[in-house]
Symmetry: none
Subunit: 371 residues, 2 copies
DNA sequence: GCAAAAAGTGAATCGTGAC
DNA sequence: CGTCACGATTCACTTTTTG
């Protein structure tokens, strides 16, 4: 899709609004291939029987709302099939979907995602640092929920801000298990009576990580089970557009108030650590043209094992081998591939320096401009 | 079932043996309602395409065995349906089943368990302390696998040794996420050539916890995908009976040798293994995600000399400098390194507080435990 | 012989853009 | 659509080799 087309598509969308009504009907009214990310926290079909009491006989405020009741697995599966199909239609080809659930429903959602052709990128465990204990001592403390991150198809290329996630995790790549506390305290929305406004409000930290990981600023994020708007609030803060769909008026009202007092962060702090791929490509030949390396100069391989000479056209010539810095490196090492930039070194003041330092010099001169 | 009847049923079983052949046929040859626990680690249907190389160009030894190949989800589902039905028939009414899988197959297994009337007690996450990283930086590190613990029916009363588990976990309820290292070192079985005897050998610590939690001494534990016999070895050590079923002769041989040298443990010794302590690592980004610091908030250096702004990905941006709390601190001070946790301060109520106080707050919440 | 450095490895659905 | 060249990418741990 061209940029112009993309802008036109966005203009047709009810951006940064909460749509009332059934999410399937509302999604079907939106143009196909138009949203970048879907985050869905559907009813869990909890099947709770009877009331649950703590050891001190106080009653646990269970999720027993009408919207969480389904007559059978078949009914739940039909519901899942329908809303996932509607979500699939409006998702851009390189868009992605996140769903969250517990063991009551997540296996059925995961299987249906696969059945519809979505391609699972990861399942992610939200490991709650402060879960509700198991009061009866009959099971393990249910201390996690499961998220599934899936692209629209096997060959799609969904956004993944690898370097930003690595930065969030202080330099080591982010794992599939996330430790995040449940939503409590000031973050938890209350109604006028002081009761929680929604029984399953998700923590903003969870959405923060999802949105930083798999969207870019300006993207459109749709949440078909908007509830009290955690997805919208974090999307707004992080400079993304949201579309919420919610059936219950009370939730819409709470979400509307919440979004009104949510502020977008400055662009400067929204910018995120990027990968090398995003930087402009510098052909090796440019180093020769600019005289940073002379034709005939000798380069030394990593580990000092091999040498090769620079030719005037920016190729290398080693022992019986000619080609690009990458090709010659790969052949000498008998490797399937080789990053010539880090493999080859030149001599300056008696020291060996990777030629990548010269590339960096050129990139710095360009000052972030693309070519 | 009376005790006498139960003893009679056990006498008909091929206890502490490894049966050769297809697990469905072998299970169908056993009497119904006769085993206490089934632990199943079936093929995951990984659907790997090409080769994968590490950044150092070494090749990843992938699981590409014929037994993990299925033509389609439909074929895998049929396989799952059939072996689960056979397992269900031989399980005692108050027996239980554990299955383990990854996102490739676990959603389909979980849905089929529910379809057949099994009742999920918990899904349990095995969090690997040393998983294989994601080499290309395209996804989250796949750092966990999922187990499902299910009873035969909704009203069944499966064994659950709540107090023993609590003791294993230093006095607090065992949670649904377990931190256990992958199987390496001396525990990993090798063939005569020094190659791993089985590509997916599970750690004994995992089976230890499963068996302690959901069986009693003398119980019969059946593993339809026995492999090199981890289930049998831990069952024997813990004074339980096992029945293994395995198709591949090489795996049966390795398991037979292993079981011959496995000894039942003395009753007192049993409590030793598993629990691991470590001060949890808290990445700075977590403070941002959790809203303890807002993106855009200004931090002040030790000695009030410099300021920097927090970015959404948990990096800092100062004057022309971007990077982690440690990197930016070091650059500003012209030092080779810097402990950002004590160097940077945030303002609360007019006072400057080191950000390390926030890290301590998170650690206190986690209680120092990682499992 | 011992300490330090280097090499090896684990259930993995692991690339992108120009032409 | 396919082909081709570029060139980006790893964590925790054990085992082996080197000094």
């Amino acid at each position: 899709m061209t940029k112009a087309k993309s802008r036109a598509a966005q203009a047709d969308l009810p951006l940064n609004q909460i749509l009332a009504g059934d999410c399937i009907a509302q999604m079907n009214a939106l143009p196909e291939n138009s949203v970048d990310l879907i985050f869905a926290d559907p009813p869990y079909n909890l099947q709770l029987k009877g009331e649950l009491h703590r050891p001190d006989n106080s009653k646990v405020d269970a999720v027993d709302d009408a919207w969480d009741q389904f007559d059978s697995f078949a009914a739940y599966d039909a519901f899942t099939r329908d809303w996932l199909a509607a979500a699939r239609r409006i998702l851009k080809p390189n868009g992605a979907i996140w769903v969250i659930g517990s063991y009551h429903n997540v296996f059925r959602m995961g299987a249906e995602l696969q059945n519809q052709g979505f391609w699972i990128m990861n399942d992610v465990v939200w490991r709650k640092s402060n879960p509700m204990p198991n009061f009866r001592g009959k099971r393990f403390t249910n201390a996690h929920e499961t998220l599934i991150w899936a692209s629209k198809s096997e060959n799609a290329k969904p956004t993944f801000n690898y370097e930003a996630l690595k930065a969030l995790n202080e330099g080591v790549q982010m794992r599939s298990d996330w430790v995040i506390p449940i939503c409590t305290g000031g973050e938890r929305l209350k109604d006028d009576m002081g009761n929680k406004a929604h029984p399953t409000q998700k923590p903003e930290a969870l959405l923060h990580r999802v949105i930083i990981a798999t969207t870019n600023p300006g993207d459109v994020i749709l949440d078909p089970f908007f509830g009290t708007g955690t997805t919208g609030a974090v999307a707004k803060m992080l400079g993304r557009n949201y579309i919420g769909i919610e059936r219950e008026e009370a939730y819409r009202e709470a979400a509307t108030k919440r979004l009104a007092r949510t502020r977008k962060l400055d662009a400067e702090v929204l910018e995120v650590t990027t990968s090398k791929r995003a930087e402009p490509r510098v052909p090796f030949g440019q180093l020769v043209e600019r005289g940073m390396l002379r034709p005939g100069e000798e380069l030394v391989s990593q580990g000092n094992r091999y040498t090769a000479k620079v030719r005037a056209d920016g190729t290398l010539i080693g022992k019986d081998i000619k080609g690009s810095i990458h090709q010659v490196g790969a052949q000498l090492e008998g490797a399937p591939s080789c990053n010539g930039w880090t493999y080859w070194h030149y001599k300056r003041d008696g020291k060996l320096v990777p030629i990548d330092a010269l590339r960096q010099q050129i990139r710095d001169e360009m000052g972030g401009r693309i070519n």
